[in-house]
Symmetry: C2
């Protein structure tokens, strides 16, 4: 029995909750396995958050194609002494044969809007709850946080520095991938670079300085090894003296064709230090040497620094982004919305759901700016919904597309660059007032008339289910 951090391919389908197994056993015993539709959405966002960015969908879909319980998994289930041979046999043949409709990665969306829907035999579809929430939830959580940093950075370079503070190995990969989708320029994570072809960035650690007897020797050694890639860390001892040392080394090596690219500030008052650093660099004619900053940064600190005019050219963002520290979990759910062709809903206090399979319709004006969204039923047409938008010239786009049918992909897999492009294009179309870091305006999301009617009808039906 390994305890390690690697996930065997055969382990992926075991990312389920125990109740999925027990419910499946009961469904199986009682012949309940008709077509069900489950939808995943985020119930609500804190006031500080204005939007979400879809990510993690590709990771989820990739897993579905190979969903099966192998011999070892079945032996484990059997060892629990709870399941009948007939059910275990059923599980051994279980594959995902259903349909998935989902938003494209990089799509900007909002609370209550389904980001994906799974339709298929009840037992298959219910098994995907945890995987969908875990993967699409985390992907979306981080892309949404990273987009806030992107807003704050106003075009400055942004690098994911967070692998060390990520919540595990998978989280580090997700953070690199999601932040790249949401406008980051690259990552320090080597595995993310290799796997996803994300540009790698890095500077040096304090230990690099500390193994040398003198700070200047460390700078010179590094610059000689990488004549065009040196970002020198200046805060191991006294920061401004570190900058002076970097300047001395830069000037000494310049005649040899060795150029320092940047200095990195990693502690202290970044506004004050960046100004003083810029002055020192400029005074010595090192106008091309840029300033890179890091050290417990988040979107608010980046925003404050740039508002105050800090001459910082790039930011490394770690913990805050990779853990989405102000909102470390999304209030996301994966709920049954239809069974045997009939809409279903739950009415628990504060946790009520919207019934039926849905579509999200986005209205755009003549210059492609987002006007607002309408959540409707999936059978509603773009044409019928378009009438509800003002102006009447609004163009309406459905956000959910069929990604899998009969358990197979039907759309070409988008590349990570495609997803990034989707985000950047959406971002340009979303008004600034919805992007604020503190209390952004609430983006208008309405229910269609047909959805409202279904909601009322189902609320009445619920009464009799508890009779």
């Amino acid at each position: 029995m390994t305890i390690d951090l690697r996930l065997d391919p055969r382990e992926t389908p075991l990312l389920i909750d125990f109740y999925h197994l027990t419910m499946a056993a009961s469904f199986h015993e009682h012949g309940l396995n008709d077509t069900a539709c489950f939808a995943m959405w985020v119930r609500r966002l804190p006031q500080s958050r204005g939007f979400l960015v879809a990510a993690g969908v590709e990771r989820f879909l990739e897993t579905l194609e190979e969903f099966r319980f192998d011999e070892e998994a079945l032996d484990y289930f059997d060892s629990l002494k709870l399941f009948k041979p007939d059910f275990l046999h059923f599980l051994s043949g279980l594959r995902f044969t259903g349909e998935v409709r989902a938003m494209r990665e990089g799509t900007i969306f909002f609370a209550e809007e389904p980001v994906l829907e799974v339709r298929g035999p009840l037992i298959e579809a219910q098994f995907l709850e945890t995987l969908a929430l875990n993967q699409v939830g985390m992907g979306t959580l981080i892309a949404s946080k990273a987009a806030r940093c992107y807003a704050a950075a106003r075009g400055r370079r942004l690098v994911d520095f967070g692998l060390r503070r990520s919540q595990g190995a998978d989280a580090g990969l997700i953070a690199a991938r999601s932040s790249y989708v949401a406008g980051f320029d690259g990552s320090a994570s080597v595995l993310a670079g290799k796997r996803y072809n994300i540009p790698l960035f890095g500077t040096m650690a304090h230990s690099f300085i500390m193994v040398h007897d003198a700070e200047r020797d460390a700078y010179a050694n590094f610059a000689r090894t990488f004549p065009n890639l040196s970002t020198l860390l200046v805060d191991t001892y006294d920061t401004l003296r570190g900058v002076e040392n970097a300047v001395a080394v830069a000037r000494e090596l310049e005649p040899q064709g060795i150029h320092i690219q940047a200095v990195r500030l990693d502690s202290g008052d970044l506004l004050d230090l960046s100004r003083k650093t810029r002055r020192i660099l400029d005074d010595r004619g090192l106008h091309k040497v840029s300033i890179f900053a890091s050290g417990n940064l988040d979107e608010h600190k980046i925003d404050a620094l740039l508002r105050a005019g800090a001459p910082i050219d790039g930011f490394g963002v770690g913990s805050a982004m990779v853990t989405s520290n102000d909102l470390p979990a999304l209030d996301a759910v994966y709920k049954l919305v239809e069974y045997r062709g009939e809409p279903r809903l739950k009415v628990s206090t504060d946790k009520a759901t919207l019934p039926g399979s849905k579509q999200v319709f986005r209205g755009m004006d003549a210059s492609d700016r987002f006007l607002g969204d309408m959540i409707g039923l999936s059978e509603e047409s773009v044409h019928s919904v378009a009438q509800s938008f003002t102006p009447s010239s609004a163009r309406v786009e459905p956000l959910l597309a069929t990604q899998m049918r009969d358990g197979r992909r039907v759309l070409p897999r988008p590349s990570l660059t495609d997803a990034r492009q989707t985000f950047l294009e959406s971002w340009a179309k979303l008004e600034e007032r919805f992007k604020g870091l503190q209390r952004p305006d609430v983006y208008p999301v309405r229910y269609s008339g047909a959805l409202k009617a279904a909601l009322i009808e189902q609320r009445v039906r619920v009464q009799k289910r508890q009779a």
Copy 2:
């Protein structure tokens, strides 16, 4: 190129930052690869947090034994067009040949205390920074949070319900494992159950109720499939009516030898609902049916419910525990403390380090209660340090033990049950005042005289490194 959530065994060594590669290239070029010692510790904790629980050490050690860059990794490095063939050749032969001293999993420890130290050739040892912080950081983060829930639950059953809200697949496994170490009774995660032999618990989802035409049918179906394992979820529609339905089903099935184990409340005012539920159950003679609660719980809510006398017998804890929501990342570092036998330190603003390889000495009184800790140098003996404790009868125990030497394990691998035992024993020895959820007393951690002397001596030496 896969994007998926599984980690290939060959990918684990790539959980490094880009700067580890560039620094290694420069160290290699300049012949800097003498023995270095790196230590990992948590710099500080917020006032609300009184202690830490070590976890993740076994996952880290397991990875080290197989550390190597394979052909595919080397090809990737080569493709970056930054590294010389000589360096890539060096990397192809790189293995971990050093020593690791670490605390046992389940050990309670405090800020500033090294939880592990790695000693070996500089390049090997620096490559492990990100892996150590990622794995031991996350393991410890969650075990520390889970222990707070354990304190709050006062012996009630605690189950990890968090896989769906974990930050990725690896985080879910870590959360199940770490919370089990820190006193949880089990997890809902099937993979954690299979891998780590953690007891599995589960109830049913709202969807189980919703596919049935009547709530009572759902209860009866589930109870028939699992005559001794039914926890019925009562809040899909109206909670107290759900309880009435559960009671009706329980009484109807009792003559057939089918027993309902518990009802689960998952929303609403849990104090009020649990009291009313208990009353309904008791009124109908169902004294043995217990009440299980869930729904955005954390240590504070559990504490408040039990202080108010809520008759709840067990709790499912998800997001708050698995993401450590009030502290989603530890302020942990992995820093060079010694090179070529000489202590090293960093003096950056707010980020200064303690020089030298260390040991953590814990004083215990006659009844084994923790008296306080002393951080000393690793060469100090228990005997010499013991004199600094009051009373003089104090027993002193070193917390760091050599786990690996020459790249091989030298201590038997503890089982997860051993780690849990270590935690439970430590927990009993830590006074209540250090365990508070709000502003616990600060546990006394001092520096030894030898460490203080080293600190002063090194501060003086730092001056000349920036000359």
